[in-house]
């Protein structure tokens, strides 16, 4: 492992996060590039009352909510794609036990964008006329308001800038300085650049010479990055394009067991609380053979024939 620079142990970085009320933007999207290793470690260390933000909710948000670690969750909607719904999140909404502020993929990212640009707000037409806006004006009135634009006199929603204390994203690789390479779409770029402290878990720390050979692949340059943690298969059982595939067996099982809190608790106890780190989690949930089978085909970027 290449150390030095901003490279640190995952456990140490998570230990730095306050035990209660930390504000974190998560970088996954449904079942891809979810920061699973990081989130599992948050759960193992017993972090509580998290204030979470996410573009599209997925596997990791459902784990945190199911583990009882979340106080407030602002997101643009979410699912496990065809594997199911975020039943731990949804049940919290249905029972009123979770403070959820529902945005859309664009509207929450306009808040991240304003944060990344260092400006107080961004106006947009999006959400005018919807129940989403009606709910936000009630619950999140400090962040969303409807006003006339001074330029064209029309009504806009004004979305307040958001600079979360932390953003946590998973990427295939970064160098020790924190130059982050992402293959495929980069839906988490705005939230990564908006955060006060960006933590990146990567499957592999690469040399800065590799970065210098491929600067066009760097989506987030080092000046944004607070810490880099090398965690091979750190997004498993979700996918990392050009690195490894999602585990359809695990996700479809999860998409059933997350309907019941008691079943979820058993799963969490067995695989997260009952393992000491991500390597143990991987060996227990996947095993070497499965991990090898999920390695991405270099042409296709996913495991050809895996599913």
């Amino acid at each position: 492992m290449l150390m030095g620079g901003k490279v640190r142990q995952l456990q140490d970085v998570v230990r730095e996060i306050p035990g209660r009320g930390a504000e974190i933007a998560l970088g996954g999207f449904a079942i891809t590039r979810c920061p699973v290793a990081f989130v599992n470690e948050l759960i193992r260390q017993g972090k509580k009352e998290l204030i979470l933000y996410e573009t599209i909710g997925g596997f990791t948000a459902d784990l945190l909510v199911g583990a009882g670690a979340v106080k407030r969750y602002s997101y643009g909607g979410g699912s496990l794609d065809k594997f199911g719904q975020l039943r731990r999140v949804n049940e919290g909404i249905e029972n009123g036990t979770l403070d959820v502020r529902e945005y859309t993929a664009l509207s929450i990212n306009l808040r991240f964008l304003a944060g990344s640009l260092g400006i107080p707000y961004v106006p947009s037409k999006t959400l005018l006329g919807t129940d989403i806006l009606a709910n936000l004006l009630g619950k999140d009135s400090e962040a969303v308001m409807v006003k006339e634009s001074p330029f064209d006199g029309e009504q806009y929603v004004y979305y307040r800038s958001l600079q979360p204390e932390y953003a946590v994203i998973h990427a295939p690789c970064a160098d020790a300085k924190g130059n982050v390479v992402i293959y495929g779409p980069t839906w988490d770029e705005e939230l990564a650049k908006a955060a006060k402290k960006l933590i990146v878990t990567v499957d592999k720390v690469v040399s800065t010479e590799f970065i210098r050979q491929h600067p066009e692949m760097v989506v987030i340059p080092s000046l944004y990055t607070y810490a880099v943690c090398e965690v091979p298969y750190g997004a498993y059982p979700t996918s990392v394009y050009k690195a490894y595939d999602y585990d359809a067996d695990v996700l479809s099982a999860y998409g059933r067991l997350n309907h019941e809190q008691s079943e979820f608790n058993k799963w969490l106890q067995e695989y997260v609380l009952g393992t000491k780190d991500h390597n143990e989690f991987l060996l227990k949930l996947a095993g070497m053979e499965k991990l090898a089978a999920l390695r991405a085909d270099p042409v296709f970027g996913y495991a050809k024939g895996a599913q």
Partner: protein
């Protein structure tokens, strides 16, 4: 010549495909919308740009995926971008001609609910939420929906308004400050709804072959009106069904 045989899903995909024009930019998700866009691209609209809200343009997938977060759907893309890149600089800027949306419920103004439904006992059941749907309904010039025709889904009143179609009809949409919406096209297994001009409410513009007006009335939760020049939906050609079965959905995941 033997008559072309087709499934209802093939008819819906073909109907949606034929409504797309060459050179348009469309936002789709997995399922029949993607099938329709790919069929249009392989027939009359080779210059169609197909965008996924996750930030992917013009992919040429060779393996079926489980959703737009599946890298199978990103294969051979022309462009990857960020959330703001896809939903801001492309969608909000006004570059999207057609947005395909899914829904739990739709009302007579083409407003959509993809968030939550009220159950008989008064409790709610929460589903996916918006994702980019409400954003797409705001900024795409045309909204297309392909859905199953059931009374509880095509309903008099939504349990939650996620995405705005024609809001409350008339000029209510523009009065609410929203950009113009040129068309709301709802393609079901029975018929095609479009906008009744002037009133800005949905009307049935074509019935699928073999479907009677009574079938639509019996399966719709709001008071249905039929267009003065009510059509019969055109049936697929052999070229279209062959493309669907051999090239676009050879495993029959969506067109069965």
């Amino acid at each position: 010549m033997a008559a072309v045989t087709y499934t209802t899903n093939e008819l819906m995909a073909v109907t949606a495909a034929r409504a797309l024009r060459d050179g348009q930019n469309v936002v789709v998700g997995l399922g029949l919308p993607q099938v329709a866009a790919l069929l249009a691209k392989r027939t009359h609209a080779p210059n169609l740009n197909i965008i996924y809200e996750i930030g992917v343009a013009n992919a040429e997938a060779v393996d079926p995926g489980v959703g737009i977060a599946d890298p199978r759907l990103w294969h051979r893309s022309e462009y990857f971008t960020s959330s703001i890149g896809a939903l801001g600089s492309i969608l909000q800027k006004g570059l999207v001609d057609v947005g395909f949306l899914g829904a739990l419920q739709i009302d007579c103004f083409g407003n959509l609910n993809s968030t939550q439904v009220k159950l008989a006992d008064g409790s709610i059941r929460h589903f996916t939420g918006s994702g980019g749907a409400a954003d797409i309904a705001t900024f795409a010039r045309n909204i297309f929906v392909i859905m199953k025709h059931e009374k509880r889904k095509i309903t008099a009143s939504l349990d939650y308004l996620t995405s705005v179609g024609l809001l409350a009809g008339g000029d209510s949409r523009s009065k609410a400050g929203l950009p113009m919406c040129l068309e709301v096209k709802i393609i079901t297994n029975l018929c095609v709804f479009g906008i009744k001009r002037g009133q800005n409410v949905l009307e049935v513009q074509s019935l699928h072959p073999g479907v009677a007006q009574e079938d639509v009335l019996a399966n719709t939760g709001f008071a249905v009106t039929f267009a003065a020049d009510l059509q019969t939906t055109g049936i697929p050609t052999e070229v279209e069904t062959t493309l669907l079965r051999t090239r676009i959905d050879p495993r029959g995941l969506f067109i069965k």
